[in-house]
Amino acid sequence: MAVLVVILTLLVLAAVLAVISAPIRAARARREAAGGAAPAGGDAEEALAARTLEDLEAAREAKYREIRDAELDYRTGKLSREDYGAIDAELRAEAIEILDRLERLKPTDA
């Protein structure tokens, strides 16, 4: 019984080590394949670019939702025609700005 416990414990330990070391081993393998150590800074720059892209995409979704919400507010009588016109124009301008910045980051699609 005690032997079984020890074996099972070691199995769990091995599984844990395999899982948590996988990305480190993979990165090391990638670096060796790329020939020599790539600067750590490269990863950070990549991360920064990715971060801005995520931000912009989330901001874009949020802005679209706001535009739709404003329209629904107008149609259900919570915004007057003038107010809606002004708010809608403002929101769409902000959306265009976000789309512009996205395009600069990702020139492949809009």
């Binding site: 769990v12 599984a15 844990v16 899982v19 070391s21 990165a27 931000d55 901001a59 007057s80 769409r92």
Partner: protein, 720 residues
């Protein structure tokens, strides 16, 4: 096998320590593979704790009484389902389940955000692993679920009969899920502050987790109230007990957060509020967990064990101090992008909503912790009771319901008089009509209840108007027939209309609370067979006693040895309404010292209530039969003296027969409450609305939004 379980706990500690180190190193050095390794540490933690839980569950189901926890809370005679659930009925078992659930939800959260917010997620991972380490440490140092005794006892004590109810079995996992889910927004909030990143992406992620936490916590609280009402013998659903309150506090701040987040999204305001609310929700959840476990407050729920108090206090103090420091040091990041233009605007209403909810939270917090506060300040311990809580929470609840009718309808930035006239006329008319109708029907004498009914009518009118106008707008735009328009409206604006449905549910719930508490009729008295009692408009007659003997090894029921009860005939104006059979179950105590018969009946007695529940009212009955009459006591004594343990059941059968023969008096608790079911119906509506609100939009809609966005947006501008 206990060795494997304990080894898993130690391994878990190691994984947590490694994960914290690697996440922090990865995010500071920019090396993503270390951040990923940290994330996988949470997955590994979940895996290891799952193994630990499995070890313990197998011990429970397999009656392995070498495990102290199993011996203390289960027995061979405990029915199967309750054996499996007994794992969370003890201090150490519940700690394990808490840690396990936390690791599971954390894994899910990190998995869903694995491609985003790498920096925020890295810090969040470290925080979550910190929590994991804390709870595992508690188990390793103070409350080990894998402690064993050798030689193993032959039989366990059995699951406390008070816990042998279906609701009791799902309430803890759901409540623990709620509590543990609260730590995820907390972790992401701390992460965002550390990474200096509080923007649309963060909002999108944290909203999902906060919503899930809110949903589970709310469901857990509701289940607790339902269990209390339908299965405990006092006939109430909320007693302002410390443990009930503890679960409500993070739910209140969570509600505030979910609403106030909308303002940050739309107008870039209330940022300080939002991070503070997120941090408060997580801290309150940890405080609630502490309160239940440390026994520092008198409550019928509290686990024993003052030894856990000190570590928890340190953790809570660290959370509070850390939160304040983070918010203050990042305040430049939290500046509002816009200012409040008018006190009559949607932004103000949401701000008022925050204030009322935080106010409610403060009142309940103060009242709950008052014994500690008064002891600290005056040296004498004192406590406040339900009347004090009711006095302050009821007016706040009224304001809340009224706000839920105003908020969705009032305009952004600045409400004009014309605007207000258009939008508030119909809801106010609803409220007024309701008031007149109720007064006309003779419902008076309870101003607070009337006020709640009117506020609810106002809120419901407002929501109804929204649905009506929205469907009408959709028909104008898309030409669909009315029912289709309604469905399409909700599908395309899930968050808004799902939220409205939640408001409807809350209004219904509060109406149920107001009606059932203000207009209930109670009668507590003793009756002999044949006698009747009046309660409200109903007449309850004690027809005859009942006595059932359950064989000792019957797994079909809850495992009671003897059940004494009554058949009650409920009539109204002479017409038969229902036949109810309340009873009290007597259980084995497992203590041989009580004698061969005494030990079969000496365990915790449990009341089984009987009720006739309709939408309009509930007739609730409970019985306290007297098992200690001289005649019955003599049977037990004689049986103890003359019968061997395995024949004790014979005396119990004889006792049952004698009980029926002598037809003794019994104490009855009779309650008629109007509209209690509305509380549970309201709760279901809230859950339904919440599910609609968080249901993700179908993928094709999202794709449509992406493609062709620019031309459409430009076209839109040109249109104006």
């Amino acid at each position: 096998m206990a060795g494997l379980g304990f080894a898993c706990l130690l391994l878990a500690l190691g994984v947590c320590a490694y994960g914290v180190a690697t996440s922090l190193y990865g995010v500071r050095s920019g090396r993503l593979e270390y951040v990923d390794s940290g994330r996988r540490s949470i997955y590994a933690l979940a895996g290891v704790l799952t193994v630990a839980v499995l070890v313990l569950e197998i011990a429970f189901v397999g009656d392995d009484f070498a495990f102290n926890t199993v011996a203390d809370t289960s027995s061979r005679t405990t029915p199967g389902l309750y054996k499996a659930a007994a794992i969370w009925s003890s201090q150490e078992g519940s700690l394990l389940v808490w840690a396990w659930l936390m690791s599971l939800w954390s894994s899910l959260a990190l998995f869903l955000t694995r491609k985003h917010m790498r920096d925020v997620a890295a810090y969040a991972t470290a925080v979550m692993l910190g929590f994991g380490a804390f709870f595992v440490f508690l188990m390793v140092a103070y409350a080990n679920p894998f402690a064993t005794t050798s030689p193993a006892p032959a039989e366990g004590v059995g699951l406390d009969p008070l816990l042998r109810f279906p609701a009791m079995m799902i309430h803890p996992p759901i409540l623990y899920s709620g509590y543990t889910l609260c730590t995820i927004p907390l972790a992401f909030g701390i992460g965002a502050l550390l990474a200096r990143r509080l923007d649309a992406d963060w909002i999108r992620a944290i909203r999902r987790f906060a919503f899930a936490a809110w949903l589970f916590l709310g469901a857990g609280v509701m289940l607790g109230a339902l269990w209390s009402y339908s299965e405990l013998g006092w006939g109430g659903y909320w007693g302002w007990d410390a443990v009930e309150n503890a679960a409500l506090l993070p739910w209140l701040t969570g509600t505030a957060f979910l609403h106030s987040l909308m303002i940050q999204e739309k107008r870039g305001m209330l940022k300080v509020w939002n991070v503070s609310l997120v941090l408060a929700t997580g801290t309150l959840a940890v405080m609630g967990t502490f309160l239940v476990r440390s026994g520092i407050l008198d409550s019928i729920h509290a686990f024993g064990g003052h030894t856990l108090g000190v570590p928890f206090v340190i953790l809570i103090a660290a959370l509070i101090a850390g939160s304040i420091y983070l918010v203050v040091s990042r305040r430049s990041l939290l500046r509002s992008e816009h200012r409040l233009d008018s006190l009559l605007s949607r932004e103000s209403m949401f701000l008022a909503n925050n204030i009322v909810l935080v106010g409610l939270c403060f009142v309940i917090l103060w009242g709950t912790y008052f014994p500690l506060i008064s002891e600290a300040l005056t040296g004498k311990e004192a406590s406040v009771g339900p009347p004090w809580f009711d006095r302050y929470t009821v007016p706040l609840a009224l304001v809340l319901v009224a706000l839920s009718g105003v908020g969705p309808v009032i305009a952004w930035r600045r409400a004009t008089l014309a605007n207000a006239r258009r939008n508030f006329l119909a809801p106010l008319a609803c409220a007024l009509l309701t008031l007149l109708a109720l007064l006309g029907a003779g419902v008076d004498g309870r101003p607070l209840a009337l006020a709640m009914f009117c506020c609810a009518a106002f809120a419901l009118g407002s929501v109804g108007q929204e649905f009506f106008r929205g469907a009408r707008a959709r028909r104008a735009m898309a030409g669909e027939p009315a029912p289709l328009a309604l469905v399409a409206l909700v599908r395309r604006n899930r968050r808004r209309y799902g939220g409205y449905i939640v408001h409807v549910g809350m209004a219904v719930l509060f109406v149920g609370v107001a009606a059932s508490s203000s207009f209930e009729h109670v009668n507590e008295l003793s009756l002999s067979p044949g006698q009747s009692a009046r309660v409200g408009a109903y007449s309850v007659r004690y027809v005859r006693p009942t006595a059932t003997v359950t064989p000792k090894y019957d797994a079909a029921h809850t495992g009671s040895t003897l059940s004494l009860g009554a058949v009650l005939d409920v009539t109204r104006d002479g017409r038969h309404v229902a036949t109810l059979r309340p009873s009290e179950g007597f259980y084995s105590s497992g203590e041989a010292a009580q004698g061969s018969v005494g030990s079969l009946l000496g365990g915790q007695p449990v009341s089984h209530v009987a009720m006739d529940l309709t939408v309009a009212r509930n007739v609730w009955t409970a019985i306290q039969p007297d098992i200690e009459t001289p005649a019955l006591k003599r049977i037990v004594t004689v049986g103890n003296r003359t019968l061997p343990p395995e024949d004790g059941i014979v005396a119990v059968a004889y006792l049952a027969r004698e009980y029926l023969k002598h037809r003794p008096r019994a104490e009855f608790n009779l309650i008629v409450s109007p509209m209690v079911m509305w509380i549970w119906i309201g709760g279901l509506i809230v859950i339904g609305g919440a599910l609609i609100a968080i249901w993700p939009a179908p993928a094709r809609v999202r794709a449509r939004v992406g493609a062709g966005a620019r031309p459409r947006t430009v076209r839109g501008l040109a249109r104006v």
